[in-house]
Symmetry: C2
Subunit: 162 residues, 2 copies
């Protein structure tokens, strides 16, 4: 058993309902509020344009998962859970890349991310050009000659209703 | 308290000592061995060139951290812990991007990653071109007009002795 603890909370406009559409910044305020003892550990974070946000998906219900995800819109296509970003995973760890807008004390204002308000925050790491940008990354099973199909699939893999 | 559990183990050539140099594939075999019940959840993972590997840094000793990291080689520069990739963090969660070389049953053969052999695996997520590649990402506090300095700093932020 691995025991972790929250270091703060993520605050979003999504109080009771999941996001209805791709997350854009004009939907409201998105911020990470860290526990106060971590304030000085945030020094220099604002020098990064992007950060990784790692969190615990505590609102996943039911707390179970399936080995295979079978999106009905994909004509019966089944993909393995680990080839998906489904939040229903053995360990419901969420990972998002957000833009750092401003840091004030223990609060990081960010670009949008599609998690429920009050989601427990586990870690923050700098997203660094040379380490994290893989220009030759592909689209995996989302690959399609039809750009519209692919964009549609991307919404699904992000769990974004549309 | 957040409770997670391992879904497998990461196997690397680093049995007793940390990597001595930047990780390259010719240093040995790197593989993720998942528990057998997760084998079918790996379907389609091999269609992705890159995946995120999320793991628990169980060999961190001492199990403590400092708010600020002060690399002696950086002329007294201190940076906040969350602006670093130091493994000594409130939650010792590791995050690496690796290339998928081959999948055989419950084993994923990957490009190199600098963790100790037998590190507990927590999650695998597809690294997807459109979602995860941020071409405008910067270098944060590692920014330097001197390319050699920056490369040197990059080795440090990755925790790679050199």
């Amino acid at each position: 058993m691995v025991q972790l603890h929250e270091i703060g909370r993520i605050h979003t406009p999504y109080i009771d309902t999941a996001p209805y559409q791709p997350v854009t910044d004009d939907l409201g305020v998105f911020k990470l509020i860290l526990q106060e003892q971590y304030t000085s550990a945030l020094q220099d974070v604002e020098k990064f344009r992007y950060i990784y946000v790692i969190y615990f998906l505590d609102r996943i219900t039911p707390k179970k998962y399936y080995d295979q995800v079978s999106p009905p819109w994909a004509e019966g296509k089944q993909v393995g859970l680990f080839a998906s970003r489904s939040p229903n995973r053995p360990n419901p760890i969420g990972l998002s890349i957000v833009e750092v807008k401003q840091i004030r004390g223990n609060v990081i204002y960010t670009s949008g991310l599609d998690v429920y308000d009050n989601t427990p925050l586990l870690d923050i790491k700098p997203y660094i050009q040379e380490l994290d940008v893989k220009p030759d990354a592909n689209y995996g099973w989302l690959q399609s000659d039809n750009e519209e199909d692919r964009d549609h699939l991307l919404l699904h893999i992000q769990g974004k209703p549309h």
